[in-house]
């Protein structure tokens, strides 16, 4: 074997910790895809906005100064959620809603052409707008957590990643409970399962979509804020994560929130484990290979279902 047991466990631990944050991003994307069946290319850019929102809250906003350099960035990541949620709400209200929902279903390709172009357009605007506003220099949130570790035996656990892991899992559980047990959450799931039937049942499908879209980008932004504590970023960073997110969501099964979580986790583990046997540059190639393997062997994903009738 080209690596030792300790290396293996180290990579596994890192994979699980990183994977939980990926899982949270995937949950965000999964909510949007599940409810609206829209492929959102701008998801990575909302993630990037989350990073910058957390960065400015922690630094210029004074959260790091006020709450301490360890706690401040975590709270900042949380607060990035509502900010991006609000932006998502506006974008859906004025742009996205016009190419999705009941009206779009009548056009050819169920409106997919317009939707893809629209999210690509939003992505271009956010990326390049980010370049104008934030500049192109890579930046990062400085937190003492990212430079210190806890030791369990020979395994080192990066403190920043451990905290991100806990926050991610906690937030994912909260989202899961929201969808399963609140009125709005149920409306959202009904709209996702069969928007026509939901409409007849008196559910405001348009509003359910808006909630799903805003919640989805908001949650992904929180994940972005968490990632920002342990790696540097710039306005084009988002795209790297689009691949991670779609791989995770497809892996879990398109449309399944639970599946999106586990899919994201698996992607994190694969990415970290691949560094054991592959050069660093190929770790994303490893993700694609696993992604392709899974969709060929089990195209419905881990938690999805196939349904087609003749």
């Amino acid at each position: 074997m080209p690596f030792s047991l300790v290396d293996f466990l180290q990579a596994l631990a890192a994979g699980i910790l990183v994977g939980a944050t990926y899982a949270l991003m995937c949950v965000g994307l999964g909510i949007i895809f599940g409810a609206m069946r829209v492929i959102n290319f701008a998801q990575g850019d909302f993630l990037m906005l989350g990073m910058y929102a957390a960065f400015y809250l922690a630094t210029a906003g004074g959260l790091s100064a006020f709450l301490g350099p360890s706690g401040g960035p975590i709270i900042a990541a949380f607060l990035a959620g509502p900010i991006v949620f609000a932006l998502g709400w506006l974008l859906h209200r004025f742009i996205v809603a016009r190419v999705t929902g009941a009206g779009a279903a009548q056009t050819e390709g169920a409106g997919a052409y317009g939707q893809i172009l629209t999210t690509l357009g939003i992505s271009l605007i956010l990326q390049n707008g980010g370049l104008i506003v934030f500049g192109s220099a890579p930046t990062g949130i400085r937190t003492p957590l990212s430079r210190s570790s806890w030791e369990i035996g020979d395994i080192l656990l990066n403190q920043s990643r451990v905290v991100s892991f806990l926050v991610s899992v906690g937030l994912a559980v909260a989202v899961y409970l929201f969808l399963g047990h609140t009125r709005q959450g149920k409306a959202l799931r009904a709209a996702a399962d069969n928007s026509q039937a939901a409409l007849y049942m008196g559910i405001d499908v348009d509003k359910a979509h808006r909630v799903a879209w805003s919640l989805g980008v908001g949650i992904t932004a929180v994940a972005g804020g968490l990632v920002a504590g342990s790696q540097s970023f710039q306005p084009y960073t988002g795209f790297d994560f689009v691949i991670v997110m779609y791989a995770g969501v497809v892996l879990g099964g398109l449309g399944s929130i639970l599946g999106a979580f586990w899919g994201g986790l698996v992607i994190g583990i694969v990415q970290q484990m691949s560094t054991l046997i592959l050069p660093y540059q190929l770790q994303n190639t490893a993700i694609f290979v696993v992604f392709l393997l899974i969709i060929f062997l089990r195209p419905q994903g881990m938690f999805g279902r196939l349904s087609e009738r003749t």
């Binding site: 742009i95 056009t107 390709g109 605007i125 370049l131 104008i132 540059q281 992604f291």
Partner: protein
């Protein structure tokens, strides 16, 4: 060669377009504008290549950069390592692109819809990292001063415009040919209803693969020429997401599935992006991307289906022009095209012990059935009895877990639906599966390809089939606008067009009013009288009793009764299946 008027007009449009580009080329004074023009033409080729797969067949690709990049690297590496001229390596790139299409398509066409689109996203990006890792970070193409023309290196930028225009004209001609042939009709049919296309005898797998390979080859050639023009190749620039996105943005913007849409998209957006870059890029980096994004969104809010369709809808309406009916004077061709070695009355379709289950549900449980040649057989059964499953097993949508199916002495088990159709079995669907954006004649022609030697014969056979069901007058109407009765008749004609020996009719009578019912019953009787064996399933007894000469009753996946209509309707098991145990007892009492 003779062309239809529509094709002739398109050919003249292509000629006119080429002349206009050449005039523009002569008129432009600066090298920079010639370069932009070259880029417009090459991106139009790329977008058209994307359109051949995605516009026609509806299989969206987010990863066409894979082909573009392979074409570019074939040129760059060929020149550096083997001193090969782009005159050779651009065509070689087409071969590489075509092979890559086959390699990618083979596993990926098992997927559909969003899954296919997202899987395609992975190929160029995975390749990108591999090329980075291999150390091909940035490859400048060496200048060949001793023999520049031999290496496609021209001092005059207009030479590149001419080359790109040549490639674009070839691509336009190929697209036009595809659109107006069995290839294109098969792809349109796949886009609109893939299972129906497969059941109508279209080898969907083969056409999709060919489309991807052709698309990959053209995209690779565009990528190769692009490398020659720009003189430098980097993995990010040729395999990056921007390339894939650009290909689809241009086509979506201009109008998907049209010949001119991708060209319009390239002609508007490429200069816009380039101009913004040049004018604003230095002042405020990023502003060009913002303006580009805003422009895309603004236009898509105004014309969600693309510029071309919007313009066409405004000026021409969406109805296609009247296609002249094929010659033949409506004469119905002699029926028996296939050699019939068997006698009427001999068993044509024989099922033995057929079984399939879904999870714990036994949908079919040991079905034995023999349908004689020329018979008009009916299978009835309540909802959920397994009727449609039986048809799906016979025509190849599902594979039986046990048992045998033989048709004219040959086993059908393991064949795909289009192969079953080729053997001479047509079918219709419970919910009509039309190709709504095609005319009635095109719908039926799609079904006739199986039995026709060439496209003209297919058209002729389709027209004949339409006459047989009495729908000849509606041949040029769009299928999306038909009434329920016309749709049913059209589907029947589609099944009959290749002159099958057996047709499977799946609840063709369901939900019809009285007059409609009579019309369709008449059509079915006529089909049967012409010697085609008919197997029809229904859940209502009434109409069936009038129609068929033999009944089988299916319940819970088993055949519970068989015989002439008169005997079957008195069978107590049948009454129980339909009306419950209580009724069966009462009838039994009354009979005594």
């Amino acid at each position: 060669m003779s062309f239809s008027p529509a094709v002739k007009r398109q050919l003249w449009s292509i000629v006119g377009f080429a002349v206009a580009v050449l005039a523009l080329m002569a008129f432009l004074q600066s090298d920079y504008f010639e370069l932009v023009l070259t880029q417009v033409l090459l991106w139009a080729v790329m977008s058209l290549a994307w359109n051949i797969l995605c516009g026609y067949s509806g299989y969206f690709s987010f990863g066409h950069a894979a082909f573009w990049g392979l074409g570019a690297y074939t040129v760059a590496l060929g020149l550096i390592h083997f001193d090969l001229s782009p005159w050779l390596t651009i065509p070689a790139g087409a071969v590489v692109g075509g092979l890559a299409g086959a390699l990618i398509g083979f596993p990926t066409f098992r997927l559909r819809g969003h899954y296919f689109a997202l899987a395609m996203l992975a190929y160029p990006l995975a390749t990108l990292y591999v090329f980075q890792w291999l150390g091909y970070q940035e490859i400048p193409l060496p200048m060949k001063r001793e023999a520049p023309i031999l290496y496609m290196q021209f001092a005059d930028p207009r030479a590149y415009v001419a080359l790109a225009l040549g490639l674009l004209v070839v691509t336009l001609l190929i697209s036009l040919k595809v659109e107006n042939s069995r290839f294109g009709i098969s792809l349109f049919a796949i886009k609109q209803n893939e299972p129906a296309a497969e059941a109508a005898g279209i080898d969907t797998w083969r056409w999709k693969m060919l489309a991807l390979m052709l698309s990959g080859a053209l995209a690779a050639m565009a990528g190769g020429l692009y490398a020659v023009v720009l003189l430098v190749v980097t993995p990010e620039a040729v395999f990056g997401m921007l390339v894939s996105a650009q290909a689809l943005i241009l086509a979506l913007f201009g109008g998907v599935g049209s010949l001119w849409g991708p060209v319009i998209g390239a002609a508007v957006l490429v200069p816009l992006a380039e101009g913004l870059n040049a004018k604003l890029g230095d002042v405020l980096p990023g502003i060009q991307g913002v303006v580009y994004g805003v422009a895309i969104i603004a236009i898509i809010l105004l014309a969600p289906e693309g510029v071309y369709w919007r313009i066409r809808d405004r000026f021409a309406g969406r109805l296609p022009e009247a296609v002249p009916m094929p010659a033949g004077g409506g004469a119905i061709p002699a029926m028996p095209r296939q050699v019939r070695s068997r006698m009427a009355g001999e068993d044509l379709l024989v099922l033995r012990d057929l079984g399939i289950s879904f999870g714990g549900l036994r949908a079919l449980d040991g079905v034995d059935l023999s349908v004689p040649e020329g018979g008009l057989y009916g299978i009835i059964g309540p909802n959920g009895a397994g009727k449609t499953t039986l048809f799906n097993v016979i025509n190849g949508f599902l594979s039986p877990e046990r048992g045998s199916i033989s048709f004219a002495g040959e086993s059908l088990v393991g064949l795909r639906p289009n192969q079953v159709c080729r053997k001479g079995i047509g079918r219709t669907f419970q919910v009509v599966r039309a190709f709504p954006r095609m005319t009635v004649l095109e719908n039926v022609t799609a079904g006739a390809f199986v039995g026709a030697a060439d496209d003209a014969e297919a058209r002729y056979m389709a027209a004949a089939a339409l006459d047989r069901v009495g729908l000849g007058a509606r041949a040029n109407a769009l299928a999306g606008g038909l009434t329920n009765r016309e749709l049913r008749l059209m589907e029947l004609a589609r099944a009959l067009a290749p002159q099958p020996r057996l047709v499977l009719l799946d609840e063709t009578l369901a939900g019809l009013g009285h007059d409609d019912l009579d019309a369709i019953l008449g059509a079915i009787r006529q089909v049967s009288a012409q010697g085609v064996t008919v197997l029809i399933i229904e859940h209502t007894m009434q109409a069936m009793v009038q129609l068929v000469d033999h009944f089988d009753v299916l319940d819970h996946g088993r055949l519970i009764a068989s015989g002439t209509p008169e005997t079957v309707v008195r069978n107590s098991q049948v009454i129980e299946a339909y009306l419950g145990k209580k009724w069966a007892e009462q009838v039994a009492v009354a009979a005594k």
